[in-house]
């Protein structure tokens, strides 16, 4: 990433995205792959047969990666959980990286795996909030370093989550946690502006205060998405196009992030028809406009 470069624009890969890639071609610079969706995990008790890969899906993904960059975006390692990394899953993530060549790899600053469970690979059912404490910072920092080592030194990013209940009495604020995490582990930030939007609506978080408190240098990627209202709450369901306030924040703040390298639109395949190919293409064009604006600002600053 150079000071005068323009961020890439891309899509979170799902089974419907190949239709978009075939239609939009080079207008999509990269795909962001969730490696956990490339295999079936039968748990440690299955021994050497624990993982069975989705071979056809991987072949199709390779076809679309041939002339595009690839970013890895995991959900299965649950770095904030108070338990060791699942080394077998980590091995699979590393194998996928050796094959697909991730530009960088991101995980979530949310708890997906619950400690003390009887079911192998047991998931909590959703991403849960984590305490922004020194203890969690130390746990996540150590795992970030271990993950980076396993991926041959690849850069690791951590994504801010969407939550419905805050953990009170934190040692530090969420932006401070990300700043400290970057300083202590080298992890960059995947700034999900739609998650921030949901937290603003659900918890009264101030987006401006949050964004102003972040070290601008740690933000490497931005996520955009849309969601739904659910009985007085707002969900990050990846079901709609990006809401206007999120676009406004993106245009206001993205030019201030000197290391921003990618802007990603996320949607779930079950909403492909609702969004429509034309709607997704418009999101890609809007992201390209934003990326061009960031690039122009960088060139002006460098001149």
């Amino acid at each position: 990433m150079t000071a005068a470069s323009t961020p890439m624009v891309g899509l979170l890969y799902n089974p419907a995205v190949p239709l978009v890639l075939d239609a939009l071609g080079a207008r999509v610079d990269y795909v962001e792959v969730i490696p956990d969706r490339l295999w079936y995990d039968y748990g440690p008790q299955a021994g050497r047969n624990r993982f069975s890969h989705a071979a056809l899906a991987i072949d199709e993904l390779r076809r679309h990666c041939a002339d595009r960059a690839v970013i890895g975006h995991g959900i299965g390692l649950s770095l904030p959980s108070a338990m060791p990394l699942d080394e077998a899953v980590l091995d699979q993530v590393a194998a996928s990286h050796r094959d697909l060549g991730y530009e960088w790899y991101s995980e979530h600053l949310s708890m997906f795996l619950a400690p003390h469970r009887s079911v192998p690979n047991a998931q909590a059912g959703m991403g849960l909030p984590v305490p922004f404490d020194e203890e969690v910072l130390e746990i996540v920092s150590g795992k970030v370093r271990r993950l980076s080592d396993a991926l041959g030194g690849a850069r690791i990013l951590m994504e801010n989550g969407t939550i419905f209940s805050e953990v009170p009495e934190p040692d530090m604020s969420e932006p401070e946690f990300f700043n400290r995490l970057a300083a202590e582990s080298g992890a960059g930030m995947l700034l999900d502006l739609h998650n921030l939007y949901a937290n603003c609506l659900n918890l009264g978080v101030s987006a401006q205060d949050y964004l102003a408190a972040l070290d601008p240098a740690i933000v490497v990627e931005i996520h955009l998405a849309g969601g739904d209202r659910l009985k007085g709450h707002y969900t990050d369901s990846h079901s709609r196009r990006t809401p206007s306030p999120v676009w406004e924040w993106a245009h206001e703040w993205a030019p201030r992030f000197p290391n921003l390298a990618a802007i990603t639109f996320e949607y779930h395949e079950s909403y492909h028809r609702r969004l429509g190919l034309a709607g997704i293409a418009e999101e890609v064009e809007l992201m390209a406009d934003l990326a061009a604006r960031v690039g122009e600002a960088r060139r002006e600053a460098a001149a």
């Binding site: 079936y40 050497r48 069975s52 194998a95 094959d99 697909l100 469970r117 079911v119």
Partner: protein
């Protein structure tokens, strides 16, 4: 270290509206269930009392219902009003989910098969047919088990370092 107990308690809360109600009435119940510091106990009690707990519990149920609804639609129809109490009992017995939808659907079927008296007679044909379909898909998904599919292409050099 008690962070693991805090995280387990948090996962238990979103999986159990009954536990949320109990903790809202009697926060000291947490002390009997988990090994928590006073601060962690205050945190869990505050989370249980928060307005967002309703959304947490709803989303947990929606996420757990998805693999069952997608893979066992006729069984869900056949269970009718019995679906809610049966699947709630299953979730209480098995509070964690498996990310593999087919495994999760198979687990629910096996839970029902172990409790034949709780199952409406009219639901048996759908259970047997759709469980068989799930097992077939599971067998197919195991086709590549133990075989390495990823190729070592050098890992790609991170463009951003």
């Amino acid at each position: 270290m008690s962070l693991d107990h805090f995280q387990r308690g948090l996962a238990d809360l979103i999986a159990s509206p009954e536990l949320v109600r109990l903790v809202r009435i009697e926060p000291r119940a947490l002390d009997y269930l988990y090994d928590l510091t006073p601060k962690e106990a205050r945190r869990l009690a505050a989370i249980a009392a928060s307005p967002g707990m309703e959304a947490n519990c709803m989303l947990y149920r929606a996420n757990r219902l998805a693999p069952v609804a997608l893979n066992l639609p006729d069984l869900c129809d056949a269970l009718g009003e019995q679906l809610n109490p049966l699947i709630s009992a299953y979730w209480a017995a098995e509070p964690t989910t498996d990310v593999h939808f087919l495994v999760e659907a198979d687990r629910f079927c096996r839970y029902l098969l172990a409790r034949p008296d709780a199952l409406p007679v009219a639901a048996w044909p759908a259970l047997q047919r759709e469980h068989g379909q799930v097992l077939s898909k599971l067998a197919a998904s195991r086709h590549w088990a133990g075989r390495e599919i990823f190729k070592d292409r050098g890992g790609g050099s991170p463009a951003y370092a």
